[in-house]
């Protein structure tokens, strides 16, 4: 089983280094449980009409150490609800990374991406080739390969289905 390539537009470019993702929904909205309400609150300080413009499969672009601080899950839940299929950033903060991979949400560490993408460029993440293609600009950039465990978790669709595979396997073979 292999990961399906991501293809979509750069729906937003977060240029801030050490970006705190909680800002996507705003700290005052972080406890909203209703996903529609949460999604409606998202991106209001960046682009008020973001929800109207984004299409399923679109991607977010981030700078260095994306997800720094004390990341919570609601901002990216809202992004996925709006159709965002993954994040490509210069690099990621480990806590954010671990949390989102566990949600089965693709994250792509790609040094140089910030300079290589304009908002709304059409992009493709080719997992097998290990590159991010900018189809609008006809360029491509290699990304840093994910660990085997992270790939397996994304393939499984997140932590729980991933652990089901592991637990089921070890039931058959205790050394697995």
């Amino acid at each position: 089983m292999a990961l399906t390539n991501l293809r979509g537009r750069a729906a937003y470019v977060f240029e801030e280094v050490d970006f705190d993702v909680d800002q996507i929904v705003g700290v005052k909205n972080i406890k909203i449980q209703d996903i529609d309400e949460l999604a409606a609150a998202a991106m209001q300080t960046y682009d008020k009409f973001f929800a109207d413009k984004v299409l399923p499969g679109d991607l977010l672009i981030g700078a260095r150490n994306f997800g720094y601080g004390h990341p919570h899950y609601p901002p990216m839940k809202a992004m996925r609800h709006l159709g965002i299929a993954g994040v490509i950033a210069e690099s990621f903060a480990p806590g954010y990374w671990r949390g989102e991979i566990a949600m089965g949400f693709p994250q792509v560490p790609c040094p140089g991406i910030l300079a290589a993408v304009e908002r709304w460029d059409e992009l493709e993440v080719d997992w097998a080739a290990g590159v991010v293609r900018n189809l609008t600009q006809a360029t491509e950039l290699p990304f840093e390969p994910l660990s085997q465990g992270d790939v397996e978790m994304l393939e499984a669709g997140g932590l729980v289905p991933f652990l089901h595979r592991k637990v089921d396997r070890s039931a058959v073979d205790p050394t697995a």
Partner: protein, 418 residues
């Protein structure tokens, strides 16, 4: 070829010799810890049973649960969460620590900070057990794996080494050393790595100071921090240790991703300016800034040396009228010690609001700030809304600086009071 402490601990936990940084291993955590919190423990307990059909954990002695947030409960829902946690621990035969203090500190007092042990928690501040030579890592929701499998999948991290030399000047505390590391190495300098402290300067820093430094590791991007345990640490940790393990230290010829030297003699008190733990500055550049409240506590301060220095600053003085100073010893054990030493009396006489241990001040559940208010704090974090309104501000600094600021109602230099 030598190995780092992290490589040795993970190799042993994987059932063999040292593992090399970068390799993928299946490791058995010696201890699995968590505090009860909605979305974490309640979900894990439910998934364990309903998704994976596991009624009880196989080796309950490996697990430890803490009730330290939402203490005391303020809503029926909070108390219901605690009830669920108590019931799960009783059913599983798992140790529960309730109202004993902030879990990361209580974990050390209860012997989970076993030198050489591998510990997982969902919360990253568990890294503070590294002060004892324990490799303790916050894995967020991946903690579920440690409840449904004996082993967990893990990538052996690289290590960045920071050697401390020189002596700490007056009024400069352990957490200033950590903030200085963020300032000089950068907030992403140790991404996905272990931050290891060493060097002769460590002798200047108490075990509890090392806990504070290790507990903040995440703000360098590190997944944890460690100190090679010295004789004094082992003498303290060994009688409490919950498992017989050989203590582990990094080899002198271990391979590090990077090495840095910090001269403690050069340091000054630091303030971390909102809204990011990356915004370190000299405290002296913010002197005089009006502040409304002060928080002295949290898992990365609020220990006996913090209370002693605050009492020293406040002895015979008064908290400025209208200023709210909250002093929350990190555990009941520390509270008791502080009471015996007369520190609680000194702080209360000065006008401090002294409370039993709880995590709730650190994340604004109580002592909540409103729009436009500003705090000096020894908490973990200064992001927007952490202690109340998103339009309030948190300036992180050491315990002495919080105490001095409480006297003046403005950001103050503690050195004038020491």
């Amino acid at each position: 070829m030598g190995y780092t402490l992290a490589e040795k601990v993970l190799g042993r936990a994987a059932g063999g010799g040292p593992a090399t940084a970068g390799s993928d291993v299946e490791v058995k955590p010696d201890f699995v810890l968590a505090y009860d919190f909605p979305g974490y423990t309640d979900v894990i307990f439910k998934q364990m049973k309903e998704e994976f059909g596991i009624a009880r954990v196989a080796e309950p002695e490996r697990y430890g649960i803490f009730i330290d947030h939402m203490v005391p409960a303020a809503t029926p829902q909070e108390e219901e969460l605690h009830i669920g946690t108590r019931e799960w621990c009783a059913e599983n035969g798992v140790a529960l620590y309730e109202r004993a203090g902030i879990g990361h500190q209580v974990a050390a007092e209860a012997g989970y900070a076993t030198p050489g042990a591998f510990v997982v928690h969902f919360d990253g501040h568990i890294s503070q057990l590294g002060a004892f030579g324990t490799l303790a890592i916050g894995v967020r929701r991946h903690l579920l794996e440690a409840f449904v499998r004996e082993y967990i999948s893990f990538k052996v991290p690289h290590t960045t080494r920071v050697d401390l030399v020189g002596r700490l000047p007056k009024g400069v505390m352990a957490r200033d050393v950590f903030h200085h590391v963020v300032r000089t190495l950068g907030p992403s300098s140790c991404r996905f790595q272990v931050l290891e402290f060493g060097g002769e300067g460590l002798a200047e820093i108490s075990l509890e100071g090392r806990q504070s430094m290790c507990g903040l590791a995440m703000f360098t991007g590190a997944i944890t921090a460690v100190v090679n345990p010295d004789e004094a640490t082992l003498a303290k940790a060994a009688p409490l240790a919950r498992k017989q393990l050989d203590p582990v230290v990094s080899d002198p010829d271990a391979t590090y991703a990077a090495r840095h030297v910090i001269d403690l003699s050069d340091l000054e008190p630091i303030v971390v300016v909102p809204p990011s733990p990356a915004n370190t500055a000299d405290l002296k550049d913010y002197l005089g800034l009006e502040v409304n409240s002060g928080y002295l506590g949290s898992c990365v301060s609020g220990r006996i040396e913090d209370l002693r220095i605050a009492a020293q600053v406040l002895k015979g003085r008064k908290v400025k009228a209208g200023f709210q100073l909250h002093v929350i010893p990190t555990s009941q054990e520390i509270m008791t010690q502080a009471a015996k030493e007369g520190l609680i009396a000194t702080l209360a006489e000065a006008g401090a609001f002294v409370s039993s241990s709880s995590c709730d001040y650190c994340f604004g559940r109580i002592a909540t700030m409103t729009k436009g208010q500003r705090a000096v704090s020894t908490g973990t974090l200064n992001v927007r809304g952490r202690m109340g309104s998103p339009d309030s501000e948190i300036y992180l600094c050491n315990a002495a600086a919080v105490a001095a600021s409480a006297i003046e109602g403005r950001v103050a230099d503690p050195r004038a009071y020491l």
